[in-house]
């Protein structure tokens, strides 16, 4: 059955009813917001956009920070540093950015999106080759080349720093071309970890700290430091932040001794 309005007048009426219903619901939404506004903003909310590999650390830091600064509400946005960079470039309301590579931070620095003098290096990390716990077939990077190894997970090199470092290592070992058909690109480093944990891939490249939090994977080999550019976690306050002063205090807090101890606990390398 087709709805056909032979009567022109009826058609117009139908549209008017529809239009007024639409406008009505629109105003209703506005009205509800007016009547029921968000609780008065006594608290400041800070959003930290941080590399996916920092999740556990940040979540452990949060309670102690909240205790010290009860008026500041701390929220996180974890993801691949490349993806976070895109979000910030497109106007995401982040206050602090912690990347897993200098490259992304440099991009923001060049654009003048950072508050001068707030950039510092939080920690360092290592890249490791992991396999599912019960796997025996991989003993080194070179053994990835054997035909029994079907799939290797790695971060998408254009947006995931762990993937960039992984590509550098494989390039250095002259394995990149040969392994390329086996590579599954993940959209952040924790996805690589999940793929290896589930056993759906034979091996994966993650940070040492990621491997440490999982008991379903084992580290086969640690990539030599000189095979990739240094794995650094730069942190900076963003110029677009509405609470630059509070953010600076938070950045300072993230560099204090307590935080460093937590970072160390999870396997990050922190200078004294």
């Amino acid at each position: 059955m087709s709805l056909r309005f032979h009567d022109d007048c009826m058609k117009r009426q139908f549209f008017l009813v529809l239009l007024s219903a639409m406008l009505g619901s629109f105003f209703l939404i506005l009205g509800v917001q007016q009547i029921n506004p968000e609780p008065a903003q006594l608290n400041t909310t800070l959003l930290v956009s941080a590399a996916a590999s920092l999740r556990e650390v940040m979540e452990e830091i949060k309670p102690s920070y909240q205790q010290e600064y009860p008026n500041v509400n701390l929220t996180f946005n974890f993801g691949a540093s490349g993806a976070l960079l895109r979000q910030i470039e497109q106007g995401a309301p982040a206050d602090i950015f912690i990347s897993a590579a200098q490259h992304q931070m440099d991009k923001l620095d060049q654009k003048g999106s950072l508050v001068p003098g707030t950039r510092s290096n939080l920690a360092n990390n290592k890249l490791v080759l992991i396999v599912p716990k019960n796997s025996r077939s991989v003993s080194s990077f070179m053994s990835l080349n054997q035909p029994g190894i079907k799939r290797i997970a790695i971060g998408e090199p254009r947006s995931v720093p762990a993937g960039q470092y992984g590509e550098q290592v494989l390039q250095k070992l002259n394995l990149w071309k040969a392994l390329k058909p086996k590579l599954v690109y993940a959209n952040h480093v924790r996805q690589v970890l999940a793929m290896v944990e589930s056993g759906n891939v034979d091996a994966g490249l993650v940070y040492a700290t990621d491997a440490k939090i999982s008991d379903k994977v084992k580290v086969v080999v640690i990539a030599a430091n000189n095979f990739h550019s240094p794995i650094v976690y730069p942190m900076a306050v963003l110029r677009s932040s509405k609470n630059i002063e509070t953010s600076k205090v938070l950045a300072q807090y993230l560099s204090n001794r307590e935080t460093k101890n937590i970072l160390r606990k999870y396997g990050f390398i922190v200078s004294q």
Binding site: G82, S159, L183, M195
Partner: protein
């Protein structure tokens, strides 16, 4: 990566996502076409207790978040699942292969085909099916000659919708088939990772490509459906009863010459009919022979039943008839 710069759109060097997308969604569409029709036709007559539950299960991929579909498929086909283990022993893998892309596309797009086909089948007048069965048509013939032709526009629309959905599938595919450039990376995936990497011009190119393909398919179906609705009266009448009776019954069957063709083979006993008559909307072209059996002629008004009887009796035809 990009070679031709043209404003916000650049043609990437590697066009493999296009072929992978087309390949996976075409294969998914073929699977869905047959399975969707089969399941919808079966559900048409199924009135069992678990009908609503079955219906829910069949439509669920449409409502579920893609991540749930991806997760369930991963559980189903992963290396630690029974199916996954069986496949490994056969040296075959679904996860992170091209087959994974086909499976997710099939699962996610199936409900669209199923729902549309079921709706189209439900629209078919049940009396026609009963008539065919009383005349001794097998179930297969009933389906092939009556249900399918009448429901065809709906079936076609469902197929194209399913194709468009399969083409656009992203979330579940990423989880099951993974992102492997040149193997499982489809257009939606290429868009996602291009945006993540900040390659907006590349993402723009793929967005235009996928919009173009999807729109083309849907516009083509709409156009085809309009065409067939407009000309349905003329085309449909001779082969099967006209679906709009009041339209036909108003037709005056004006006097036109009836030619009885010379019968080439002389009958021994029985009735041999060979009539060609030009009617207003179509040409009546009948030829059949019956021997020692009862003959029944069925058809909607204006299908040419009376004309046939009249001509076979040697009457000069000027009919204004109404038969039920």
């Amino acid at each position: 990566m990009t070679i031709i710069m043209n404003g916000a759109i650049a043609v990437p060097l590697d066009l493999s996502p296009l072929w992978i997308s087309l390949k996976a969604s075409t294969l998914a569409m073929i699977i869905i076409f047959f399975s969707g029709i089969a399941v919808a036709y079966w559900m048409l007559d199924y009135q069992g207790k678990s009908r609503s539950l079955l219906e829910g299960i069949l439509v669920s991929p449409l409502i579920f978040p893609p991540t749930v579909v991806g997760f369930l498929l991963l559980l189903c086909f992963g290396k630690n699942s029974p199916i996954g283990k069986l496949l490994i022993s056969l040296n075959f893998s679904i996860v992170f292969t091209w087959y994974g892309a086909v499976i997710t596309a099939t699962v996610v797009a199936f409900p669209l085909m199923y729902r549309t086909a079921l709706g189209a089948f439900e629209q078919v007048d049940r009396n026609l099916l009963a008539v065919a069965r009383t005349l001794g048509a097998t179930e297969w013939t009933v389906f092939r000659r009556i249900v399918l032709p009448l429901a065809w526009p709906g079936v076609l629309a469902g197929t194209v919708l399913a194709f468009a959905r399969a083409l656009g599938e992203f979330g579940a595919t990423l989880m099951l088939a993974g992102n492997i450039p040149g193997q499982t990376q489809t257009i939606p995936m290429a868009i996602y990772f291009a945006v993540e990497a900040g390659a907006m011009d590349e993402a723009g190119f793929w967005a235009v490509v996928i919009l173009f393909i999807s729109l083309c398919g849907i516009v083509a179906v709409n156009f085809w459906q309009d065409q067939s609705t407009a000309s349905q009266g003329a085309i449909a009448a001779p082969t099967h009863p006209n679906p709009s009776p009041n339209h036909v019954s108003e037709l005056p069957v004006t006097e036109l010459p009836v030619t009885e063709l010379p019968v080439t083979e002389l009958p021994i006993t029985g009735l041999i009919v060979n009539i060609q008559k030009q009617l207003i909307n179509f040409d009546l072209d009948l030829s059949f022979s019956v021997a020692e059996s009862t003959l029944g002629i069925l058809g909607g008004s204006g299908a040419g039943k009376v004309c046939c009887c009249a001509a076979s009796q040697g009457w000069k035809v000027q009919v204004r008839a109404k038969l039920c």
